[in-house]
Amino acid sequence: MRQRIATAFATLIVATIAMPLLAQQDTQKEIERYRQLLADGNPAELLEMRGEELWKEKRGPKNASLEQCDLGLGPGKVAGAYAQMPRYFKDADRVMDAESRIVHCQVELQGLKREDVVKRPYSLTQGERQTEHEALTAYVVGLSRGVKVAVPQAHPKEKESFLRGEKMFFFKGGPYDFACSTCHGVDGQRIRLQDLPNFQKADNAQRAFTTWPAYRVSQGAMRTMQWRLFDCFRQQRFPELAFLSQASVDLITYMGVKAQGGTMDSPAIKR
């Protein structure tokens, strides 16, 4: 935690120097706010707690909790599960990332309607309360903290997901001709002052994969891995990535396999 704060602070100092003079006063105020937030630890911890309550609460037409949700390690086993996803689930006959599986359990165990659950997965407007999906994801990923990434590749569909993800990672398209690899395939690249992980390097991939979901101080909200991809593709000038889509799962599989052996440290805190 202390090291994280130090890193965040170093980023802030750089950002401050970089600000044009006119923006300095606003920046000062923002920095005060950052300081207060960081001094109290990661606000995502509150979201993890809310997620735990939601997880254990009896809800939906079936009046059931999510406690018997099978995240791949067997019903009721949440600890360490996120670090081993995406993975193949026999009951759905497909590869699912953690966020897909949480929604799956809400539908199957609680009897909630899928279209209702997926309608608004992210809290995108300023000051909007974090969504239940974000809270549940925070809880699930938090229980993999300190666990090594081990995304399974034994099942043919897991391997296929990786192979599709790999192709999608290098897929150039849109009016800007960008692929994921344009920014995330070379060492030491930056957009503005933001360092970009090179997914061809294990240490880079590990650092990125193990720190999402993350609390984004600049947005005052915890963001999930599905959101991370959604927002990358926005800047890539692609159409809108659909929540829990095949491409999203395949790319998370690809990144997870590239990050094998890294130690989960999420929800992290980022600028």
Binding site: K167, Y176, F178, A179, R190, P239, E240
Partner: protein, 209 residues
């Protein structure tokens, strides 16, 4: 690429070999990838699904990046010549606009995103990847520095036209360059490109101090 290899293997091994190959993971074909992507994205705002239909250049450069193999020299030459031949130079022969407006364009990262409002004025987002005016410390490093661009190169007709073409479609010089086709793809207007040109080439621009 991998799928072609598999097919070739299958053909050579004939029926017996194919039966065992199919039970393993199937490498996706390019068509399958495009289909999977189209099923995974939604049309929102200005961003339509046809953005996932790759041009020949996009396909060739995707494969080059994935395999780590450079383009075939003939393919490269053909793609670059085609890009260069389609550059539209300003009809009035004036290449330099206002460097102050150019700086604002270089700073703005708006435009063409699914989240952008219909009438959004697009920027060039030059600072995302390039150092331009040294006074702006928040710049990326994916592209080379443009500090003192005009001071170092002068403003001969050759340099001015080269710079225009490079902004219009950088693939004319390097088929798989990362830089967007600001003119060719309609990201910036001709007038906006003139302003960015002034930022780089005008002796009064802070870039050339």
């Amino acid at each position: 690429m991998k799928s072609k290899y598999l097919i070739a293997l299958c053909v050579s091994a004939l029926v017996a070999g194919c039966a065992t190959m199919v039970s393993g993971p199937n490498a996706p074909t390019d068509a399958e990838i495009v289909a999977a992507l189209k099923a995974s994205f939604k049309e929102t705002g200005p961003a339509k699904l046809d953005r996932l239909d790759q041009s020949d250049l996009q396909r060739a450069c995707s494969i080059a990046a994935e395999t780590g193999k450079d383009l075939d020299p003939k393919v490269r030459e053909a793609l670059q010549s085609k890009a260069l031949a389609a550059v539209k130079y300003p009809a009035d022969g004036k290449y330099l606009g206002d460097w102050k407006r150019g700086e604002a364009i270089a700073q703005s990262g708006r435009g063409m995103q699914f989240s952008d409002a219909p009438n959004t004025v697009a920027g060039g987002n030059c600072y995302a990847c390039h150092q331009v005016d040294k006074a702006e410390i928040s710049h990326g490093n994916i592209g080379p520095t443009l500090w003192n661009y005009g001071k170092l190169r002068g403003n001969s007709e050759a340099i001015v036209k080269y710079t225009w073409a490079r902004i219009w479609n950088s693939h004319g010089f390097n088929a798989c360059a990362n830089m967007p086709r600001f003119g060719d793809a309609g990201i910036l207007t001709e007038a906006q490109i003139k302003d960015v040109m002034a930022l780089l080439l005008d002796a009064e621009s802070p870039v050339n101090k």
